[in-house]
């Protein structure tokens, strides 16, 4: 009979109630700690909250905000959306904070579960602690960032693909398929890694001595969610933006000379980790451990992809990729330790060989705590000035408007009460609320001719954020290059408002 239960039936239940309980408790602890320490919603969290509000209000900018840029992947916004709808406003708790804490906790729980199933033993707790105490990781769990989602999905994908290579269980293949598809939807940074992972699965399948039909079936099951996610994104872009490739236009058009912001020390810190994972790769190759090879290769792909993207100036910040490398390294080390322990158990000299192994673990934990934790701590203190000002002005509970916004409104109304200000780019979601003054309009896809036609005879303004980091990839900057510095053909510089610059949109035709 052509029916194999072992394809799907795990020996252990992958997720039990105790894991769910642990996850929820950890999430609550993370959230409570963040609130107690007075952490605030970061720039990304504010933007995504804003998109959710617009989406729930049924406004077009909300839909545009979900799909229009590869730099703002849709999945984190969609993950926040149900909570943004359900969380009562009286709780004054931004949904993005809750979601970050939930995914941060899920990362730790998934790591624990993966290492336990591999048989890493009690050392796994030390390894997990190394990540859980990392200030950079914690900071992202506390500020509503999408990085915890990235780490969670990465751990899920990495564990699943390794388990698939080792055991050929259909369930692992499914988890990998959905993990990688969602990972692609979290943002541009992970797309390179997803491609690498797909290549690894394809090569692994190509090497198997099975029929072509079976290979095709495996690849179809593994890649369909990914292909569907891409197709859906293109479709949504076509429906909402009118151009299926709108989200990736910023990559096709030469960038505005966006500089990579990455402290040098962070490179060195992760170079050490990469060397360690490289060593594990060599060990796995010597042991003919295909799962270990797959895991370490995909782990090393993270800094590799970061390097490649930085080389081609297509990375505004390598920190997410490199921070995602931490849990990958923890997984790789845990897997290596488990394999070592299994080989020791089967050998007579096991007890003697344990000593250097323990020393290695302790060294690793020290490395994580000192190198990967303390240095980012110092760096994060240094980089405070780099954080978007919007985060400094937001309170933990209520996403406030900029204090200068009413003044700006008075400024434009001073000339005419019918003025309109197009606030360009994703930062507009942090700046404006659904109930903001009707003077201000979101403009994710600003077009001079269309605005002239739609608001014929009115005085129009453009408010453009400084093109730095992710903001430099907003459509206003790739459609009208250097507009912030030089202005456009129909624009006239008006004034500066913080990081924003106000231009007047000159109309050739006199008002009726």
């Amino acid at each position: 009979m052509g029916y194999v239960w072992s394809l799907m039936k795990p020996k252990h239940e992958p997720i039990s109630f105790s894991r769910w309980g642990l996850w929820l408790i950890l999430a609550v602890v993370l959230l409570a700690a963040g609130l107690y320490l007075g952490r605030e919603v970061g720039g990304e969290g504010l933007v995504r909250e804003g998109i959710c509000k617009e989406l729930l209000a049924g406004h077009t900018p909300g839909r545009q905000g979900v799909v229009s840029s590869i730099w703002w992947g849709p999945f984190p916004t969609l993950a926040i959306l149900p909570l943004a709808f359900l969380l009562p406003a009286t709780l004054c708790l931004p949904a993005c904070l809750v979601v970050s804490a939930l995914f941060g906790a899920a990362t730790l729980v998934l790591l624990e579960q993966s290492l336990r199933m591999w048989g890493t033993g009690r050392w796994r707790w030390w390894l997990i602690l190394g990540l859980a105490l990392n200030p950079a990781f914690l900071e992202h769990c506390w500020n509503g960032s999408s990085l915890p989602m990235v780490t969670c999905l990465l751990v899920l994908s990495l564990y699943s693909v390794t388990a698939w290579v080792q055991g050929r269980r259909l369930l692992d293949l499914i988890w990998f398929a959905f993990g990688s598809a969602l990972l692609l939807g979290t943002g541009y940074e992970m797309s390179g890694w997803v491609i690498a992972a797909v290549c690894v699965v394809a090569i692994e399948e190509w090497r198997r001595p099975v029929s072509g039909m079976e290979k095709r079936a495996v690849l179809l099951v593994a890649l369909l969610p990914l292909a569907y996610a891409v197709a859906l994104w293109l479709l949504m872009c076509w429906l909402i933006m009118g151009d299926p490739l709108y989200a990736v236009r910023s990559l096709l058009v030469p960038g505005p000379g966006n500089a990579l912001i990455l402290p040098d020390l962070l490179w060195w810190c992760h170079a050490g980790l990469a060397a360690l994972v490289g060593g594990l790769l060599v060990l796995a190759l010597r042991r003919h451990d295909r799962g270990g090879v797959c895991l370490t290769v995909l782990g090393l792909a993270l800094p590799g992809v970061a390097g490649l993207m930085a080389w081609y100036e297509r990375l505004w910040d390598a920190a997410p990729l490199l921070l995602a490398f931490l849990p990958a390294a923890v997984l790789a080390l845990g897997h290596g330790l488990a394999k070592r322990e299994q080989s020791e158990d089967s050998s007579e000299a096991g007890s003697l060989a344990r000593r250097p192994h323990r020393t290695a673990v302790i060294l690793w934990v020290l490395l994580l705590l000192v190198v990967a934790d303390v240095i980012p701590l110092a760096l994060s203190a240094r980089s405070v000035s780099l954080r978007p000002r919007v985060a400094e002005q937001a309170t933990a509970g209520v996403v406030s408007q900029f204090s200068w916004l009413p003044e700006l409104e008075r400024h434009v109304r001073h000339r005419t009460p019918f003025a309109k200000v197009f606030v360009c780019g994703f930062e507009s979601f942090a700046l404006l609320q659904p109930d903001s003054s009707p003077v201000f309009l979101h403009a994710l896809d600003f077009n001079f001719d269309k605005s002239k036609h739609d608001y014929y005879g009115q005085v129009l303004y453009l408010l453009i954020h400084r093109p730095e980091r992710r903001n430099a990839m907003d459509s206003i900057h790739w459609k009208y290059r250097n507009i912030y510095v030089q202005g456009g053909k129909d624009t006239l510089y008006d004034s500066d408002w913080g990081d924003w610059r106000l231009f007047e949109h000159i109309q050739a035709t006199a008002p009726r």
Binding site: G2, L7, M8, K9, F85, L170, A217, V221, L224, Y228
Partner: protein, 477 residues
Amino acid sequence: MSVVSSEPSADPLMLSRLRPGLSARVPITRAQRMVLVVACGVLLILVAWHPWLTARAFVLAATVFYVVHAIYKLTMVRFSISVNSELVIGAAELAAVRDQDLPVYSIMVPMYHERESVKHLVQALSQLDYPADKLDIQLLLEEDDHDTRAAVEAMTLPPAFRVTVVPVSQPRTKPKACNVGLEFARGEYLVIYDAEDRPEPDQLKKAVVGFSRAGAKVICLQSRLNFYNPRQNLMTRLFTAEYSAWFDLSLPGLSVARAVIPLGGTSNHFVTLKLKELLGWDAFNVTEDCDLGIRIQRAGYGTRMLQTTTWEEACSRIGFWIPQRTRWIKGYIQTYLVHMRHPLQLVRELGVVGFLHFQVVVGCSTLATLLNPFFWFLATLWFLFRIESLTGFFPGPVFAMGVTCLFAGNFAFVYLGMLGCYRRRNWDLVGYALLAPFYWVLMSYSGWRAFFQFFSDPFKWEKTRHGLCVEPDETKT
């Protein structure tokens, strides 16, 4: 071979006589008709009074329904991959079973115009790994089905076989024939097979071990069904994907959740005495299997899934497939209305959770096939013509839920079909599962056909034509 004619004492309509409240003899009661009329009246008034608001409320309710239905189905799939989702009987356990310890097992095969299937059926049942002297195989033949009777008479049947002739009477349904056979069943356990079925040889032994392991409360074991002709044409490929997902990924989940299990029409193994206690099948219900599954649960008993497969012939022609599906959906409507005659009593018997399971498993799956065309139409209108006024039906949260259902929910169901084929190692069918949406259109067409037929001809049994497949696919083994 012995031929038995049904005696007057064998009352095939016993359920409808003794427990009329549980029979579909009256398809819709007066109270239900009243409720339906009042509901339609209220709806018409609302539409006339405030059509826009009513439409929005309808869309909201339907969207919530879709979300709940999708989450429920995916949860069942998650349950189905848990360790104890079904009874797995290992080879060692089977080997330890001694022939002398095995009980007498009754097999009933209702046949009507199945002349071409007789030979294959006898061959398949003769291959069962069960002591011949403990088999009690009844071929249930209709009195006026001269072709099949002649075909059977022309054969030399093995000793375990006997023929029971079912006298001509209304209604002309399969459950009525089964009730006649049940009267004459001698076995401790009993199983129903269709004429074209090919059960795995060790299925009966597995069922015996399964019953002994499952406990006294479990009186029914449902085997998995799949097809031996999946590659005959596109229709059979899609049908196989659907069956694989239903029997391999959904029903085991229902079993884990201790939910009501709508039994498949064949390969249901029963404890004979308990089945008699339940008065057998409802002769007026055109999906008597689904109805019996609910009644088992209502009586405080249980059903479990048994890990063994019976291979059937997939209907390969749309012209036959649509009447078959119409009958199934019509039977679900019948079953739903029969058991919802006294909702409070149903809650008492099934419990609140069981009641909700019943609503989703029997009610929602039928409703979904009826509702789908509306939303496909709306989606097509919007995609093709971008009618902006349609967006007014979907305010923010409703839009988000609707989009999730449209894109994530539908994809999940297509993907489940693929996984079903994958688990069956039907590698080449995995890709065909992508065409499932076209299959859903046929289902919805059948759904509406069933809806109208329920009112016009509730007891009409549209017989599925078998024997269209010349040779089974080699991939079965």
